[in-house]
């Protein structure tokens, strides 16, 4: 995580639009988490399948959260504006994968674009995902 933070910091100063490329992150399709994701998306009846949208869970990995937090900054909240998944091969349950992610912070309009590629540990491409987050300013809150 510290390594990711260091790299993120070094790339932060690279240009007006912040671009962060993270080191590869090891992830896994744990059967229990996949089952819970299926349950929450009303897909419980689809036994044995990793939902196409499941990799969104990997965006909560500490490395990506840290980078997202840096890209988003203070005083705004991320609002999901668009999302895509494109897979050449479906993921298997209880299998290891690697995710390579890149974040781009744009200022006009304020937003963060996240691109990620999912690979097997041997480096074969499985698919990719992309998220577009709009940054909504938080209104001043009353103390009452």
């Amino acid at each position: 995580m510290a390594r990711a933070a260091d790299q993120a910091q070094s790339e932060r100063a690279a240009g007006p639009d912040l671009r962060l490329r993270l080191p590869p992150i090891a992830v896994r399709t744990e059967a229990e988490r996949v089952a819970r994701f299926r349950q929450e998306t009303d897909a419980a009846a689809i036994e044995g399948l990793v939902p196409l949208a499941f990799p969104v869970c990997w965006l909560a990995s500490p490395e990506i959260r840290l980078a997202l937090s840096r890209a988003i900054g203070e005083g705004v909240l991320p609002v999901h504006e668009a999302q895509s998944f494109a897979f050449e091969r479906r993921l298997e349950i209880d299998a290891d994968y690697v995710i390579e992610a890149e974040l781009l912070r744009k200022d006009d309009p304020p937003g963060v674009h996240l691109h990620a590629v999912v690979l097997t540990p041997e480096g074969e491409a499985c698919g990719r995902l992309e998220a577009v987050l709009r940054l909504a300013p938080i209104a001043m809150r009353s103390s009452s």
């Binding site: 994701f37 689809i46 609002v79 668009a82 909504a136």
Partner: protein, 149 residues
């Protein structure tokens, strides 16, 4: 499942315009959003804290867009079990607020039989008053019955 194996086109392979029907999901209460936040790791307070939602101008916390998007695959597989969803691209147009439900609908906009059976579908998730909350395009391949998980 790896890349779905090549299959021949089934006799009832849909044509352009085929309707997937309507399928309702929700209503999504605050407990459901908390469970989704726990499993997905998306604990953005916007979805969990009414005061934060209010601070960005919403009357109530919005349902996670990804929770709604995650419902498209079961909606498609309820229509046809012999397909594998390979792509899904969506825009979130309007929030669905906690306590509301969505109805997913869709139509085939492209149907190929060669080189392998493939469908492209336009999908909608509508909230209260039929407002479109999510518009999406999905790509699905036919899979042989014996390849079903």
């Amino acid at each position: 499942m790896n890349a779905p194996p090549e299959t021949s086109t089934p006799q009832d392979w849909p044509e352009v315009g085929a309707d997937i029907g309507l399928r309702a999901f929700g209503p999504f209460d605050s407990g459901r959003l908390a469970h989704y936040a726990a499993v997905s790791g998306d604990d953005n307070p916007l979805h969990l804290d009414a005061s934060v939602a209010k601070a960005v101008g919403l009357a109530a916390p919005p349902v996670h867009g990804m929770l709604i998007l995650g419902c498209f695959e079961p909606a498609l597989l309820a229509w046809r079990r012999d397909i594998a969803l390979m792509g899904l691209s969506a825009k979130f147009l309007a929030p669905i607020l906690v306590g509301e439900e969505v109805v997913i609908s869709g139509r085939v906009v492209r149907a190929r039989r060669v080189p392998r059976p493939e469908l492209v579908l336009r999908l909608l998730a509508r909230g209260p008053n039929q407002d479109i909350a999510v518009i999406a395009e999905a790509t699905a391949l036919h899979i042989a019955t014996e390849a079903l998980p």
